[in-house]
Every structure is written in C-alpha cells, then in structure tokens.
C-alpha cells in the first residue's frame, strides 16, 4: 500500500504541478511553542498555497519525523556555503536521475528555447515571513543586475545572448517572463546549478541597503561608516550573499537558515519555518530541526568523523581514510558508504598545446604523439597499485551513466600497447635514441617531458612514478615538477609548462542541455590550451586564436550547440565534440570514478547507500534531498 502511494505521489511530483495536500498539515513540534505564543502563524498558513509534495521514488525512501540536530564538520568558516549546496532549494533543480524539475517554482515553460515563463507559488514566503513574489525578481533585474555601481560589468554573462540582455516582464505577482532574441541554453542549467544564478533577491530586505532607495542619505552614510565598509556597494554585497549564507539577517528560501554571524568555530542553522516542501503525511520539511557545523582543521576531520563527531560527512574524507573509518564504525555508531565521483577523470594529463618552446609545441600538437603517450600508460597497473583495483580507467570523457556515453569515448587509445606506441613515435621521426634509450627530438635534445603538479597530494606523484616506468619503455623520460597551485597555474599560462596533471572534466554526467564548454577552448583555466581559451573568452582581445583544425572545429561545435533550436541538435553537437576528444586526446585521462567515503549516523534515514558525490551536477548531497533526511529514534516510527 505504502509503495503504491509513493508511486502515485512520485507521479504527482514529477508533473511539477504540486497538487493538493494529501493530509492536514502537522505542526512541527519544535515550532509549536512559537506558534502557541503567537510569534509564528500555524503551519497551514506558513506553507505556500501550492506546497511541493515530496516523495522520492527511491528504494528504501520513506517519510520521516521531525526533530534532531545534524552535525557536520567543515575546515573553514567559509565552508558554511556548503549548506547552500546541500540544501539545494533552487528555482528548478536536478532530481536523482539528473532530470530538471521545478522546485521553488510551481512550474515553468519554455518556447523555442528563447522565451522562459516562470510561475511562482502563491503564498510562498521568505524565511522571515515576507511574501516571495515577482517583485523579488524585478528587484534583482532592475536594481542589481542593471545597476551601474553594483554590477559594473552589466548582467551576468549567462543572461546575455550575443551580448544582448533579455526582455524581462512581470505580468503579475506570480509570473516572470524572460525573452531573448535567440535561444539561451544556459538559463535553466544556471538556475539549477549548485552555485546557481540567483535571479531573485529578498527585495524587502535589500531595499534598505540600496542607495537608490535611501531617503535619508545622511543616515545611510552613517550606517556604512558604522559597518566599517568601504562604500555602500561593498556593504550591499557583504550583506547580500545568497550563496555564502554568511549574513543571518538575510532572508532565504533554503531549508535551513544560518543563525550565527561569523567569525565562529560553531555555526548553527535552524529550520526555515516557511519552507515550501511538505511530505505526504502533511509534515513540513525539512525534518531535521537544526544543522550545526563545527570548524576543525581539515587533517583532523577524518579522525573526528571516526570518533562519531559528525552525523553526515563526506567533505574532507578521502578514499585512503576508508579503512580507518570502517574500523571505528561500530564503536562510533555510524555506517560508511562509498559514493562515486562523477568527474570525467579523477586524474588526467594536460599536454600544453600553447607551450612556449616551438619544437615541443609542434610535437604536442601532433595527435599521434598524444595517442602514443596514452597507449604507453599502463592504466590497469595504476588501478591495482594505487586504487586497489576499485576505480575505472580510460579517457577523460563522460561517464557510463550519462545518456551521451559511448564505450568508444572511454576506451579508444587506452589499451596498454607499447609496440603500437613505439611505431607511432617512430612514424613522427623520433627514431633516434641516446645511450639511455631515450628518443631524441629533431634538434638533438632528448625527449624529456616535465609534468607539473600542484604539489597537493602524493597520489599524483605515485601515479606519475608508474607512468614514468612505462613511458621509459617507449623511449620517453618523465620528470615531475611539484610546486604550489598559484605557481603551477602561472607556469601553464606562461607556456613554461609542457604538461600538467589535474582532474578531468568537472561534469562527467552531462545531458545534451548541459553546456559543453569544457570540451572546447572557452576560458583561460583550461590547461591544455590556456591561450586559445583566453582568446575565445575575451572575444579575441587576449591570447592566441586556435590554429589547430580540430580545436577550431570544437569552437564551432560549441557555437552550434548554443544556437541549436532543439535537444536533438544539442545532442548532435555534444556527440561530435566527444568524438573529436576521443580521437584527438587533447587531455589524456588516466583513472575515473574514484570512491568517496560517506559517513552516515546509524539513526539517520533516507541517505542512499550508493550515490554520486559530485559538485555539478549533484550538489554533493543536494540531489538526494537532505531536507528529507531524518533521525529514527528507534521506535521504527515515521510512516504514521
């Protein structure tokens, strides 16, 4: 019966229409005294008229009970922004299958990829009880995005198509329409991102901080001086940080609201009494009353988690902590799950196609050279030696669970085949060798590649040591140059570096609607072609124009994706780009799908055993809806 009801609810939710409450709303016990004292309206009045009925179609998921404190550990006070990620209340967000669903919005519709109509929930309120309406969107658009002082660069780039802003209309209190002259494929994903584009702000609160609304300029100036701010702009930005959650006074729509002004070692987030989600029994979410964050040094966090000082922890835990955590499992009353990262590759080599040395530049731009480097890596050995054989190997590309995945993308040029690698290298005119057996370049220099690392983990150097051995058998000598991150990046930008090692594609689980910008030259921070990326990002003002046909083709395909009118067109662009990458190997992927230990208190329910631990898409725990996690007090209750 229960399962049936869940399925029915899931169908309801997935239509995105919300629907009427299945039961009378139940008052949250921890808020009842405040309701009785008249400080808060009763739950039926706090919920939007159309609350989002939440029932997740996952095995083992069931509605829970109110109450409890969830303890988290973070390394820096700044990390409290993780709660904006875990909370994951977005206008629309990804579900566990990575499909987009309306969340804060009651619904939305898209016409021709260029006209977006957002419908709000009537009666929806900010955490301070003020209504959340189209006025909050208007405030952002007119007084933040288009305010010459607050946004000197104009609206965010994701809101511009070919440099032109949208027409924005606010027909009534619950409808907002964005209309561009051409399709804007970034818009919806930007709102669903873990760090979203906040196109709505609490107008009633921010108006008091905005110069345009200051009636008493003298008093306004005094406030700024009292706050020790440089000017009203920096005070405004400081107090309006929707993502950082650093200002307890700023109203929010997230499930938990920060109550601790920094600096502190202990932050407390309490439930948002006006949150818009409700379960089938009529309990307003989140179930958990408070989330507390303790700041501890990141090296101590595994030890603290092992001592049972966290109820839910994955951040700052690494795979090599797994055995320690597992050993303390029963002593400290938690379970350790292993979730997978969704990066395209955990580690990848980045040949710098913009390296300064002309001979090397020419060689690194040869696809056959990169292919030979890839063929001469023994990924199986790396997996066995460093990762106990538990991770996946192959190219830096989308992951198996992604709808765009083809086995060929991951496997091409990744067999360990020294004979073929040697043949390819001989074919490039590198057949002369010195006494050590290291091949010689045309100008007589030995083929010695220095790989830059950011010097943060010994894991990278371990992997490089194994690659060193197999490359040597192909006549290539590898050196490792560890440094610190800033130096590492500057060496790549300046062209001093020949090659670097770093993580692969951030988004290994894209859909056709996700931006393929990581695959094409698009910004300076792409270590395989920093100059080309810089050129594209600046519109030709900086960097160098991509001059390799394949790279130019990627830029063109990125444009084609942007302008494609429909999903099929975008999927086609994605496939071609992935195809080019698997054949050209602009980055050389090594391993992927690394496991992350997730410590979960035994009493904590609704946390899946297997999951994706990823920033974008995924929002770490966000897509599994931490507002539905709850503490079971052992009486098995919750379903009633």
């Amino acid at each position: 019966m229960n399962r049936l009801r869940c399925a029915a609810l899931a169908a309801l939710v997935s239509t995105g229409c919300g629907g009427a409450l299945a039961a009378q709303p139940i008052e949250t016990p921890s808020l009842a005294p405040r309701v009785a004292a008249g400080e808060l309206p009763p739950v039926a009045e706090r919920l939007p008229r159309l609350p989002l009925l939440t029932a997740l179609p996952r095995d083992g998921w069931r509605p829970g009970r109110h109450g409890g404190d969830l303890r988290l550990l973070m390394a820096k006070a700044k990390d409290i922004r993780q709660l904006s990620i875990y909370g994951y209340a977005r206008l629309l967000g990804y579900d566990e299958q990575l499909a987009l669903r309306a969340d804060l919005l009651a619904g939305y519709s898209v016409r021709g990829g260029r006209e977006f109509t957002l419908r709000l929930r009537p009666g929806h309120r900010w955490s301070d009880g003020q209504p959340f309406t189209s006025e909050d969107f208007r405030f952002y658009w007119e007084h933040i995005a288009n305010d010459a002082e607050l946004s000197p660069g104009g609206p965010d780039k994701k809101l511009l198509v070919e440099g032109r802003p949208p027409q924005v209309e606010f027909p009534d209190a619950h409808t907002v329409i964005y209309r561009w002259h051409k399709p804007n494929p970034y818009f919806l994903t930007a709102m669903a991102a873990p760090r979203p584009l906040f196109i709505y702000r609490p107008a009633h609160y921010l108006r008091t901080l905005h110069k345009a609304f200051a009636t008493d300029l003298y008093g306004f100036a005094n406030e700024i001086i009292k706050a020790d701010a440089r000017n009203w702009i920096s005070r405004f930005h400081n107090l309006d940080r929707p993502y950082k959650a650093s200002n307890p006074e700023r109203p929010t729509l997230q499930p938990w609201v920060n109550t601790t002004p920094g600096p502190s070692e202990h932050f407390v987030f309490t439930r948002n009494p006006y949150y818009h989600r409700v379960d089938a029994n009529g309990r307003q979410l989140p179930y958990i009353d408070r989330v507390t964050i303790d700041i501890a040094s990141n090296k101590l966090i595994p030890a603290k988690a092992g001592a049972g000082e966290a109820d839910l922890q994955a951040r700052y835990l690494r795979f090599d902590n797994y055995t320690f955590l597992k050993q303390a499992e029963s002593r400290s009353g938690y379970r350790v799950h292993l979730w997978r990262s969704a990066k395209g590759a955990h580690l990848a080599l980045y040949p710098n196609l913009n390296t300064a040395d002309p001979a090397w530049r020419e060689l690194l731009r040869e696809a056959d050279f990169r292919r030979a480097l890839s063929l001469a890596i023994d990924r199986y050995e790396i997996n066995q030696v460093v990762y106990f054989g538990l991770v996946d190997t192959g190219n830096n590309t989308v992951r198996e669970a992604c709808p765009l995945y083809q086995p060929e993308y991951r496997q091409r040029w990744t067999d360990f085949d020294l004979a073929r690698a040697n043949r390819l290298l001989d074919g490039l005119g590198l057949s002369r060798r010195d006494a050590r057996g290291v091949r010689l370049l045309g100008d007589g220099r030995p083929l010695e590649i220095t790989v830059q690392t950011a010097g943060e983990s010994t894991e990278q150097t371990d992997v490089l040591a194994l690659i060193h051995d197999s490359w040597l058998r192909a006549g290539i000598k590898l050196y490792v140059a560890p440094s610190v991150r800033e130096v590492f990046r500057n060496r790549i930008f300046s062209g001093e570096a020949q090659m670097a090692i770093w993580g692969g594609l951030e988004n290994g689980m894209p859909t056709a609607d996700s931006s393929p910008e990581e695959l094409a030259p698009s910004n300076k921070y792409q270590y395989q072609w920093p100059q080309w990326g810089s050129y594209v990002a600046s519109g030709g003002a900086a960097g160098e124009a991509p001059d390799l046909p394949a790279a130019r083709r990627l830029v063109a395909l990125h444009d084609a994706w942007r302008e494609a009118p429909d999903k099929a067109g975008r999927a086609a662009a994605w496939r071609q780009m992935l195809q080019i990458h698997s054949s050209e190997l602009f980055t050389i992927g090594i391993v992927s799908g690394v496991l992350v230990p997730v410590v979960v208190k035994q009493r904590l329910r609704n946390v899946p055993e297997q999951g994706l631990y990823n920033f974008e898409p995924g929002a770490y725990f966000g897509i599994y809806r931490p507002d539905t996690f709850w503490f079971d007090d052992g009486d098995g209750g919750g379903d009633s």
Partner: protein, 332 residues
C-alpha cells in the same frame, strides 16, 4: 635609568618601521595575490570563475594599486588603529583577532606554568645531583620530550584521549558548548581539553629549560660563597633558595622577551594539528590564502610584542642585576 628607557623606546620606532616593510615584503613575496588563491580554490571545488567579477574584486580590494601605494594604505591605516580588512572572512581584522586572544593566552599561560612546574624541580635536582642516575634519567626524559615530533605526539594523544576518556577530538571545548556563555560546565570542558596541548607544547620546552637551569646552577654551585655558606652550616634547602638559585635566575628574566610573542603565536603547528581556536592556525591560514591584511596584522603584533618583550626583560635585568651596564659598550 630614565634616559636609558627613553632611548630604548625611541629606538623602537625605526625598528618597527623596518619590520613593517619586511612583513609587507614577505607577504607579497609569493606569486599572485589573495584573488589568485581564491580562483584556485573555486576551481578545486569545481566552481566557475568569472573574470569580470575577479577584476571587479581586485579593484574593490585595492589589489590593483602599485605595491608602494598598497604599503602606504596599510601603514597609514595601522597608525590610525585600522588594521584593514580580511578578504577571507569579510570582516575587519580587529573583529577577527579579538575572539581568539583569550583562549590563546589561557593556553600559553597554562603551558608556561606546566613547563616551569616540570622543569624547575628537575633542573635543581639535576644540578645538585650531577652525574647521578637521577640526573641522567630525568634529563633523558626531558630530551625524549624534545625529540618527539610534537604533531605526532598530539595525534596519538588525541586518539587515545578520545577512545579512553571520550574527549572530543581537537578544539579547546566541546562543540556543543562553543557558543554557550561561560559557565562551570564550559570551564570544566576547557580544562578537559586543555591538558593535551599543554603537555604536547610543554614537553618540547622542558628539556631546554632543564638544561639551562642546570648549567646556570652548576656555575654558581662551584663558587666560593656557596662553599662558605655551606661551611658555616646553612641548611642546604635555605642555602639553595637564598643564594645560587637567585643568581641562576638571570636567564629566566632574559627569557621573558621570548615569552610574549609565544603567547600570541601559541605554537602554530600543534595548534593546527589539534585544531585549537587560537591565533596560530588563523595566521597560517591567512598566509596560505594571502589574506594580506590579516597576516600582516598578526605579524606586526608578533613583532611589536617581541620588541616590547625584549624591552621589558632588559629593563628588568637592569633593575635586578647591578652588574649590567646601561651605557652600551662603554665598558668593553
């Protein structure tokens, strides 16, 4: 004496100016600035970096000014009591540092008392029983304390304190009580946590203290006035307290100069490992993320305290020991 004090005070001004220039140069020495480390951090978290936003922030924070202008802004601000703004915490520096000082001072005083309590009896015993089994044994113990890497000892003690006594790992107070007002329960919790860092930091200092006290005492014990006093039948305890021990205290007063900066910096490495809410980890974090005003304020504080500490110990020495000349080199 007054003349001497005044001259020393005036000499502090150019010293501090030179130190401020050095501090600024050191903070600026690593490549990049705070925003570079900020970009790197965003990227490591998988977040995107908006170049325009970065340029805007760089202008907001004044990081696009030439170096000498940045130095001037910092220096003139400090002279007016404004230590600048921490980029990392988004707060004025003065608000961040204040909170941490109390626990740092408490920890440091406890550590110093612990060191003295251990080192004094051992030092006196070693000197009076030179080359005995007791001397060797206790000295060995002190050296073991000195030779064990602090951070290792800290981790081991943390683990067993948690497993055996159920004390929460790291920090100076139980997480549940961090924001609670001061109460008996909170003080008890602080005391329950305090002994680990006190022992860890203290063990490193005891060996040096023991050796110095022993050496100074041995020098005195050979002298004729001690032999005379002993020949006249003064009881050994009173003799020790009244004559050679007092003479051996010079090094102890001279040490005060080092104590003050220690109180503020609070044994950084141990504090980082133990995740103590003292100033050490914050200074390290500020240096790593190139949060220049926060780091600068800390380093200037340290410098000021060192300079003041040296002054205090010099004045004390001059007052205590009539043999010290105030003329500076006139007698050499």
């Amino acid at each position: 004496m007054l003349h001497y004090t005044l001259r020393r005070l005036l000499a502090m001004i150019p010293t501090l100016l030179v130190i401020s220039a050095l501090v600024f140069a050191i903070i600026q020495a690593p490549p990049g600035d705070y925003l570079e480390s900020y970009i790197a951090e965003l990227q490591a978290a998988g977040e995107t970096v908006d170049e325009e936003k970065i340029a805007f922030l760089r202008h907001e924070y004044g990081l696009d000014l030439p170096l000498h202008e940045q130095y001037w802004v910092w220096l003139s601000g400090m002279l007016q009591g404004d230590f600048g703004y921490s980029f990392e915490h988004n707060l004025p520096v003065s608000e961040i540092i204040g909170d941490r000082l109390l626990l740092t001072v408490a920890l440091s005083i406890a550590t110093i008392l612990f060191t003295w309590a251990v080192a004094f009896p051992i030092g006196i015993y070693s000197a009076t029983h030179q080359y005995s089994w007791g001397d060797y044994g206790l000295t060995l113990l002190g050296f073991i304390g000195l030779a064990t890497p602090n951070f290792l000892l800290a981790l081991v003690m943390l683990y067993f304190a948690n497993v055996w006594f159920g004390i929460s790992i790291g920090g100076l107070v139980d997480p549940a009580l961090i924001d609670a007002p001061w109460s008996w329960e909170k003080i008890r919790s602080v005391l329950a946590h305090l002994w680990i860092p006190v022992i860890v930091i203290g063990t490193a200092g005891t060996a040096a203290m023991i050796r110095r006290l022993r050496a100074n005492l041995l020098d005195e014990l050979q002298k004729q006035y001690v032999i005379t006093a002993r020949a006249k039948g003064l009881p050994p305890g009173k003799l020790m307290r009244k004559y050679p021990l007092r003479m051996a205290m010079n090094f102890f007063v001279a040490d005060i100069g080092n104590l003050l900066p220690q109180v503020i910096s609070g044994a950084e490495i141990v504090a980082v490992v133990l995740s103590l809410p003292t100033t050490g980890p914050m200074l390290l974090g500020a240096l790593q993320s190139q949060d220049m005003y926060l780091a600068g304020a800390f380093l200037m504080f340290l410098a000021l305290l060192t300079v003041l500490g040296v002054l205090v110990s010099d004045l004390l020495l001059a007052a205590l020991d009539p043999r010290i000349r105030l003329g500076g080199g006139a007698g050499r």
